[in-house]
Amino acid sequence: MPVAPLDKQELIQSDRQLAMVLDLNKCIGCQTCTMACKLLWTRYEGMEYMYWNNVETHPGRGYPKDWQRRGGGFREGRPVKGDLPGLDDYGRAWEYDYQGVLFEGRSPNIQPDEDEPRWGPNWEEDQGAGFYPNSFYFYFPRLCNHCSRPACVLACPRNALYKRKEDGSVVLNEERCHGYRFCIEACPYDKIYWNAVRKISQKCIFCYPRVEQGIPQACAAQCVGRIRFVGFLDDPEGPVYKLVEKWKVALPLHPEFETEPNVFYIPPLSPPRYHEDGTVSDEPRVPIGYLLWLFGPRVREALDTLKRELEKVQNGGRSELMELLEARSYRDLFKLDKSPNPRFNEYACASCGVAQSCTSPLKSRLAGTATASSLRVLNGSRTSSGTRTPT
């Protein structure tokens, strides 16, 4: 029999909030986060075009195309109509004509074997804006913001979405979802995807099965640039609290959408612009106007703090903020519980998601104190999350 509807306020409340900070100054656009997520969660039928995590080049139109101008979120507290992107807005996946080129001499170049592709998840890589010598761009990794005022949860007529009590991750109950797609419309970040095979919507789950085992999200754990910090917002010892609350250098993306994101970005510093005569100006290469558009007015203060602390170190001083951002140790990046997590030494191995069958000689070195039992824990968590089996 049917279940009584839950109060929306009940659905969006959580006891604690897990959050992530991404330092845009360190992102090299390698897409390792994208692939870590893709291999772990979205490699099944109907999910081909889904990138729960993607890295865009900004300025740019992004993925899906023009997501920043497609509506959703709130304005002065009221919901804003959003639209539903089509496959052309994501770009249709293509195969390359290897057979024709390698075995049938059809063309000297490997090319898409069907229609000319017109868009894709990283279509505008390194394109950016401006003209030499003042052209600029930066990489922008994006995932679900696990908002404190999640437009998707509030839009769903089925109450299929909710925030997890224990960590505030926004998750979608696939059994309650009837594929109505109001959540996709309502998310101003366009981070919910339509699975046309299963006829349900799907989204980032903040890797909660990993987090429950004391292991950071795959996108964060795999990041070679060490740009991602993970911790609870109420944990003053954690890196996220320090960057968001204490130093105030990490800001939500498009705060004007009013969804109160829990993924925060450290805005990019940039070298100075050149005047026409070749002399150096006082203006940063990345125009402040662009950063104001992305992060709102608090970006000025964040950039000032970053510059001030950077100068301190350049002049031979010390800075807690700069040492945190350097992230010499992985331990500085992640703090999932209030007490130190004994599995921290193991996550480097665990993060690859193929822990059991991995034969890399690095495994034992990276894994440190990893034991057979801890690997069993990992495999257990993966089995319980669905149809997944170790590769």
């Binding site: 839009a155 007529p157 009837h178 006829k199």
Partner: protein, 216 residues
């Protein structure tokens, strides 16, 4: 009161919307109206959809027959677009549903209440089988694991004709309203126009119950 006549015809024939036997059934023409947007179960839908934007289909023709073991609803309505493709997020399928009260006084517009639940059969053009649902008020729709409902649909000349069939009795009367020859059948109807992005509570519906006599 329109009759549900008994036709001594096998299921496969009655399931066919084009079968000649349907000419023998009483035809009921029902005016449909848009569902009230103000009653939709989320702020987002209430505030971002305009009343005039939903409820594209304005009439439905209903014919009902039974053959002693199954009951058949033939539903026909005008729809210039055949929407069966949901391969992209902005594509929605056409659909139709029949709703039955479990008790006498179930409220129609709220799709039942906790004390007066209702039962629906939901056919959608992109699905192989219709769903059976139970609902106890807006936002509580529940798809039962077993459906027992079968359907055949034809779209031609800008009209859908869909036959929905189910055994008069099922092993699970708590989730599937039972029908007894000699008794009455109370039903309400709704239609979704996919190309108008109609789905969930955004649709057109018959605002009153229609009561049929089920011939013995």
């Amino acid at each position: 009161m329109p009759r549900i006549r008994k036709a001594a015809v096998e299921k496969e024939t009655l399931l066919d919307p084009r079968a000649g036997v349907w000419r023998e059934a009483d035809a009921v023409k029902l005016p449909l109206q848009p569902t009230p947007v103000a009653m939709q179960p989320s702020d987002y839908i209430r505030e971002t959809y305009e009343q005039g934007a939903v409820g594209a289909v304005q009439e439905l023709e209903v014919r009902v027959l039974h053959n002693g073991s199954e009951i058949f609803f033939r539903l026909e309505w005008p729809d210039p677009t055949r929407d069966v493709d949901v391969s992209e997020a902005h594509r929605f399928a056409d659909g139709v549903a029949v709703m039955f009260p479990f008790g006498e006084d179930a409220p129609l517009v709220t799709m039942g209440s906790p004390a007066q639940p209702v039962n629906q059969w939901h056919w959608r053009a992109d699905l192989e089988k219709p769903y059976n649902l139970t609902t106890a008020g807006l936002g509580t729709t529940y798809r039962t694991p077993e459906s027992f409902v079968e359907a055949k649909a034809v779209w031609e000349g800008g009209r859908w004709a869909v036959v929905l069939a189910r055994p008069l009795q099922t092993p699970d009367p708590d989730n599937h309203v039972p029908f007894t020859p000699g008794g009455t059948v109370k039903a309400a109807f709704c239609v979704w126009e996919g190309s108008h992005q109609e789905r969930a509570g955004l649709k057109s519906y018959s605002p009153t119950w229609t009561e049929f006599t089920l011939e013995a």
